[in-house]
């Protein structure tokens, strides 16, 4: 099966950035996800929502890139929320213990509601 080339889109919603990775997060092209988040962090954004609705699969390279984003946010006391995750993604994050270092929501709107409520 031919995988979709990885790409990233994003938008600003209030004081939170919503990131939309698209495709299999499994090689160096996934660095664009780190760069996209880094751009928002450098603008002072501390709340990032990653909507995984178009990324079903991830491998160790993708996990490493996600760790980088989590580390960058941790350094500025920011928050990362992950939404719309496939079962595979959620199981993987749970098994690795990543879940404890992020907020997980079923859908993007829930995450934005949580962030706008100022609970972080």
């Amino acid at each position: 099966m031919k995988s979709v080339p990885f790409s990233v889109a994003s938008r600003l919603e209030g004081d939170a950035a919503v990131i939309y990775p698209k495709g299999y997060l499994n090689n160096l092209s996934g660095e664009s996800l780190v760069i996209e988040c880094g751009n928002y962090i450098s603008q002072g954004i501390t709340k990032i929502v990653v909507n995984f609705s178009e990324t079903d699969l991830i491998n160790s390279i993708g996990i490493s890139l996600l760790l980088q984003i989590m580390e960058d946010l941790k350094n500025i006391k920011g928050t990362i929320c992950c939404t719309n995750m496939s079962k595979f993604l959620r199981d993987t994050f749970e098994m690795l213990g990543l879940i404890q270092h992020m907020r997980v929501f079923p859908v993007e709107s829930d995450a934005l509601k949580y962030l706008s409520a100022g609970k972080v």
């Binding site: 160096l28 160790s60 490493s64 760790l67 580390e71 098994m95 690795l96 990543l98």
Partner: protein, 396 residues
């Protein structure tokens, strides 16, 4: 499925990821970058580094790193690591493992008995200790990384040697051509009337061969033959070569020896090009078998010989001789045409005319023949003449 099983599957798939990363057609740096991501993603480490041992300097150079202080990595000493186990992960703080750049775990990389570098990890996300399974996995990964680095070193060494050989070959070629030109200058200096004749014959011959579709190696061969075809004249007396009156039969016989002398001289040289000896020896042969020194004819004459013969004759005709004036270009072309089939080859003549025509029309931006011809020549007349010959010789 239990968490342990899921973790085991994740680790196996990480090895697959590593295999894909290091066997991809990417550049070396990208492979190593991918490999480091696989490692840090597998062990959830926010710090990772691969250092490569440079035998020539005795230092460890950072190939790729994430999260470490580069200055601290620069201070890692290979002698502190060489005594540790080969591709065995060592937990920092346990004697005799030295503290290195703030790493929690280090793995010296080895291929057979060769120290290759070191893999460093630190900053495990969940701050737990490394399990036995994880240490075994690090050892497997370290073996693979060491092989990748070693292969890269071998490839780089080979590339360097290849580059050095290429450079030496180019130097040799320059020296070779310089020597040939010095030879040619010595030949031409003997005969005041044929200065630069060898150079021009080399240029004309190469131009015809190129138009004929020869490859660059063979073109270089005929160029060399052009330079050397008259080297035998070095053994002919100056007085005879520069004689102002026509040769007597005996003198002509003496002059005719030069092509065999050229062959005898050049036969001592092992040329990297084919047929140089043949072209030098037979450049005065004719299609009708009335040439010299072997009176060869038709099928016995290679294309190279036929090209050199025509180029030599054309330059001889358009150059001043002690016993006659130089011929104008039109007359020389007419003379060549008159001698087709008896002396010169139709196909070679056709190609020669095409080259000259292309040089006149500017189709060949770096002309080889035109710059050496009489500057007073009327190019439009020559061009018309060439067109007519081309049409005639191209007819089925």
């Amino acid at each position: 499925m239990s968490t342990e099983l899921k973790k085991a599957l994740y680790n196996i798939s990480a090895l697959v990821d590593l295999g894909q990363a290091i066997t991809a057609e990417d550049a070396f740096q990208e492979k190593i970058q991918s490999a480091l991501y696989v490692i840090t993603g597998t062990f959830l480490a926010n710090k990772g580094a691969i250092l490569f041992y440079d035998k020539s300097t005795g230092r460890l150079n950072t190939l790729i790193q994430k999260g470490f202080d580069r200055a601290e990595l620069d201070r890692v000493k290979p002698q502190d690591l060489i005594s540790l186990g080969k591709n065995e992960p060592c937990l920092i703080g346990y004697d005799p493992v030295p503290a290195v750049a703030g790493a929690e775990i280090l793995t010296p990389l080895w291929v057979r008995d060769e120290f290759i570098g070191v893999l460093l990890l630190s900053g495990k996300l969940n701050a737990g200790s490394y399990t036995l399974e994880e240490l075994e996995l690090i050892s497997v990964i370290a073996n693979q990384i060491a092989i990748v680095l070693n292969n890269h070193t071998l490839f780089t060494d080979l590339s360097d040697k290849l580059e050095e050989n290429r450079r030496l070959y180019e130097e040799m070629r320059h020296i070779y051509h310089g020597t040939l030109q010095a030879f040619a200058a010595a030949i031409d200096a003997k005969d005041a009337y044929t200065q630069n004749h060898s150079h021009r014959v080399a240029k004309y011959s190469a131009a015809i061969a190129r138009e004929l579709g020869w490859n660059e190696h063979d073109i270089e061969g005929i160029y060399v033959a052009g330079y050397l075809h008259d080297v035998g004249k070095l053994a002919i007396s100056n007085d005879l070569l520069n004689k102002a009156t026509p040769f007597t039969p005996a003198e002509y016989e003496e002059i005719r020896k030069h092509s065999t002398l050229s062959h005898n001289i050049t036969s001592k040289i092992k040329f990297p090009w084919k047929n140089v000896h043949d072209m030098v020896w037979h450049h005065h042969e004719r299609l009708d078998g009335r040439g010299y020194p072997e009176a060869l004819a038709e099928d016995s004459l290679s294309d190279g010989v036929r090209i050199l013969t025509l180029a030599d004759s054309f330059d001889a005709m358009t150059s001043q001789r002690p016993y006659r004036k130089r011929m104008d270009v039109q007359s020389a072309i007419s003379e060549l045409k008159k001698c087709l089939q008896s002396q010169f080859d139709n196909k070679i003549m056709l190609v020669f005319c095409r080259v000259l025509e292309k040089e006149i029309t500017g189709e060949l931006p770096e002309p080889d023949i035109l710059p050496h011809l009489d500057s007073d020549s009327d190019l439009s007349i020559i061009s018309s003449m060439l067109e007519a010959i081309i049409q005639e010789l191209s007819a089925p």
